[in-house]
Symmetry: C2
Subunit: 217 residues, 2 copies
Amino acid sequence: MEKAKNQKGRSISKHIEETLRADIASGQIDAGERLDETKLAERFSVSRTPVREALNRLVAQGILVSNGRRGVRVTEYTREELAHMFEAMHEIEALCAGMAAKRLTLLARSSIEAAQAECIKAAEANDLPGFLRANEAFHLEIYRATENPFIFDLASGFRQRTGPFRAKKFSTAEDLIASARSHEDIIKHLFSTDSAAAASEMGQHMKDTFMSILAKM
Amino acid sequence: MEKAKNQKGRSISKHIEETLRADIASGQIDAGERLDETKLAERFSVSRTPVREALNRLVAQGILVSNGRRGVRVTEYTREELAHMFEAMHEIEALCAGMAAKRLTLLARSSIEAAQAECIKAAEANDLPGFLRANEAFHLEIYRATENPFIFDLASGFRQRTGPFRAKKFSTAEDLIASARSHEDIIKHLFSTDSAAAASEMGQHMKDTFMSILAKM
DNA sequence: TTTCAATATCTTGTATACAATATCTCCGAA
DNA sequence: TTCGGAGATATTGTATACAAGATATTGAAA
């Protein structure tokens, strides 16, 4: 039974929403698992009401799926749906890279380089959690470099949904290093402001990632 | 005070959600307008609970925005935000056109042609509501032609949000005809399966639309 | 008259109670 | 034993009640 801190005046339901989102993204709550309102209410020591609010929002975001009166579950994907999801992610990432290349500011450039440096460091140390964080930051910085908050939200929202699957991909130290090296190619084209090449390179990077994930499922 | 039909076992809150979404998209509820839970509850002859559920989901979809304890309002955009939103829409439309061109099935092709025929018909009859419906269908068919449900949801969700603004653009009969004609160019490239050209043509179409909207605001 | 603060009122956030529907269990018949 | 249905149980959907924060109002002092 954990404490619902309700810190900084943020409502309880918001806190629950974020906690659940994190639990799902990190895989602590499995895909397909059913979420019981009463149990969650007990876990957070609150009534069902704020729990329901949180669940509703997560449903609206596509993270959970509602089956009418048969409760809500963590969205589960067939192989085909996964392939579609990855294809969509791939297209969006490429789009972001293309936009970013067109309008790369010095600030964005340095942020991306910093994130990439972290990736390399974590990969060489074979630090998986560290790499996942850094990799996340790397991609987010590219979304941010589009300078378009809608695109940023879109891409980061989608990234959240693919998170649980991507996390499983990286098993060996070689995987990490290969991925980090692939980033270098993306950066090269990004920084040369060759939009099409950057998009294409990012597309390739994501395609590699997704193919190797699908192969394992 | 309207009747909450609760038809076909769909929950009341779902019904409210859809009704509000339609009201906002059609402009019956203005941007920036505050939505009072109690008033809405009275309007639908239900308690505040299902109203809150609906509002929460709409907030999660970005259609409404919540100001903590100061209620929810219809999301309002500055000129700059609008420009960003249109840019995002523009990129997504182009992406869809590009994907659609790559894998156009006969079924998709005929659906798109049918929608375009409706556009032309409505435009020549200067039937604004009819044109808006047909135009909507035309774009949705292109999203569908990507054969990727995630992309479809993404694009149609975004289209919903830009709806209230796009509706204001078409004032004269010439506007309608010009827009319908622009569709023809998109189709030409789509059907030639020239992905890059289709994307670029769609991008131009959307850019024209958005520039003329922004000019009026 | 203007300004500031205390109070009243209104609105949202949460808790609890009740209703409706789905799922489970158990028992009897084929 | 297996199948099916009636009742029991559990879970979600909705209503109402209460708590807490925000806005509006009132009144007094400068």
